[in-house]
Symmetry: C2
């Protein structure tokens, strides 16, 4: 299981390869939120999201003989790009299995990072069967998106950086708001902060209608979302928290915070005008929570993870049109 | 006059107050440009532009007895916000003189940074007369936007950071592309790199129709723009290079590069999708030069300064609509 030593080892492997992303702030955000807000701009990470860290952590930890055969992942989004680039930087083959109706741009971007994209028909084929066949045939290692200790350790390196950056900023207590899908990012950051910044409390943030983790934390057992589509925050929509990530979150995290799609779009527009960064809807739910759900947290400081920036131009324009002032 | 010791002293004064902005890159940019491209993301600086550095440098160098009376600047843009915030962080009064037809948002932002905004009628009043009166009455010190050695030294701190970041990235030779208005940023960076990274050559970048510095460098004497309005790159439109900055640029810089408004908009859209940063048109001319005018520079590496991100949502939407894919 992931522990602080594993996260520190992941940091040692990742150092010099991933970006150490900046802490950004603005008096305009503080005023809206009614407290100090610091944004960990992980949208500036390689491939535009935190997923690169988990992918690098998992691939770099493989035995060299195993790694050279290559890796495989199921994803049409940020995890695909993270795994593809981390594999290319290790000089090993990478296969990404995507549904044939995935947006063309995502397919092209994943190919541009050097991956072989294998498309499957969602209606008639099983990606697991295709993946298992390819993995066996070529000796590929599956890189899971969140329910994998090495991936959680990689995402946890963000928590180590937050602890260091907060210390430099003189912050001893804070509520840390993290966009939450399967919980790899949230659990990794929680483990890192539990060890390195015990005055910090993590809250997973989710889009309305897809608040499986918030409900699971409230009930103490695995709750599922009724649907798997229909949120603009598609990057963080999962059926339920992970088998490995949920026990970690239940042990360490505070209550979840749920934001609307409109609040996420509004947060994107504010990040545009005040921080000069591009955040995707799923990556903006934690900022939205800090800006519009301040009554659900305590203390005078919120640290927000802006977890990704891979948003289509059309949707970003919509956010600016509605909330761009 | 500004020299490397003055720039290093400015860095010492600014350290811990301004952001040390990141170097960003993407394989997609390299492919378009045909060489390696590294972007110094100064749009992530406090107040959204490099101007904060020059303002801090000038204000922090004032004698304490003089400084406590306050400062004054003429600007409706990035310089105004930089001076306002730097003054507030020093705890001293700040007056910004702006035309009464300046966009409301710029007036509000400058006030939000704690400045007193004095509006004047462009048609019937002289800002210099108003400024001189206020300065004398209250003992305010004028902070000039570019033709001032301490301001040039402040902008030069970007050059010191570029030299350090390029060294860490293993880069010994590069063409450095810098958005150029009055030349404070360009001359400051040139002086810093001349001393710290002699394999680097700086090229000022300008919008078509407002290429006074490019023409001045070609002719060897001060050339003027025919007009002062009509470019979307309004942040870097000046009548001619500065009396102090031009001799520096003439001695050290390579040829200027001129880009169209459309190329600047296109560069903004690419920075949105590939780097996840927001750049304003005037701040995007150097990136546009790297992406679309590669034949005008040499070598295998271009370092680009993205100097600011203060762009209206409507204009940014236009860039995405036309070039956002």
């Amino acid at each position: 299981m992931t522990d602080i030593a594993m996260i520190q080892a992941a940091r040692d492997r990742i150092s010099g390869h991933a970006r150490y992303t900046p802490f950004l702030d603005s008096p305009f955000l503080d005023e809206i939120a009614g407290r100090r807000v610091l944004v960990k701009a992980e949208c500036l990470q390689l491939t535009g999201s935190f997923k690169f860290r988990g992918a690098w952590s998992a691939i770099s930890a493989l035995d060299q003989e195993v790694r050279k055969n290559g890796v495989i992942a199921f994803s049409s989004g940020n995890h695909a790009q993270g795994v593809a680039l981390a594999a290319r930087m290790h000089g090993v083959p990478c296969v990404i299995v995507m549904p044939s109706d995935a947006p063309r741009l995502k397919v092209e971007n994943t190919r541009a990072y050097g991956a072989e994209v294998v498309l499957y028909d969602r209606a008639n084929e099983s990606r697991e069967a295709i993946g298992a066949h390819l993995a066996q045939e070529r000796g590929l290692t599956l890189i899971k998106p969140f329910d994998e200790p090495l991936v959680i350790a990689g995402q946890g390196t963000i928590g180590l950086e937050i602890a260091d950056q907060a210390r430099e900023a003189g912050i001893e207590r804070a509520e840390v708001l993290v966009p939450c899908g399967g919980g790899g990012l949230t659990s990794g950051i929680s483990l890192a902060l539990e060890a390195c910044a015990p005055g910090f409390k993590v809250h997973p943030c989710e889009p309305a209608g897809f608040d499986d983790t918030t409900r699971s934390l409230a009930s103490g057992k695995f709750e599922r979302n009724e649907k798997m589509a229909g949120s603009i925050c598609d990057a963080i929509v999962t059926p339920s928290p992970g088998e490995i990530t949920f026990p970690i979150m239940r042990r360490i995290c505070g209550a979840g915070i749920v934001v609307t799609d409109d609040e996420a779009l509004h947060a994107m527009a504010i990040a545009f005008s005040r921080l000069k960064i591009v955040i995707e809807p799923g990556g903006a739910v934690a900022l939205a929570a800090a800006l519009f759900h301040g009554s659900e947290i305590d203390g005078d400081t919120a640290i927000v993870v802006a977890s990704g920036g891979n948003v289509d131009a059309a949707l970003f324009r919509q956010a600016l049109e509605r909330f761009g002032g």
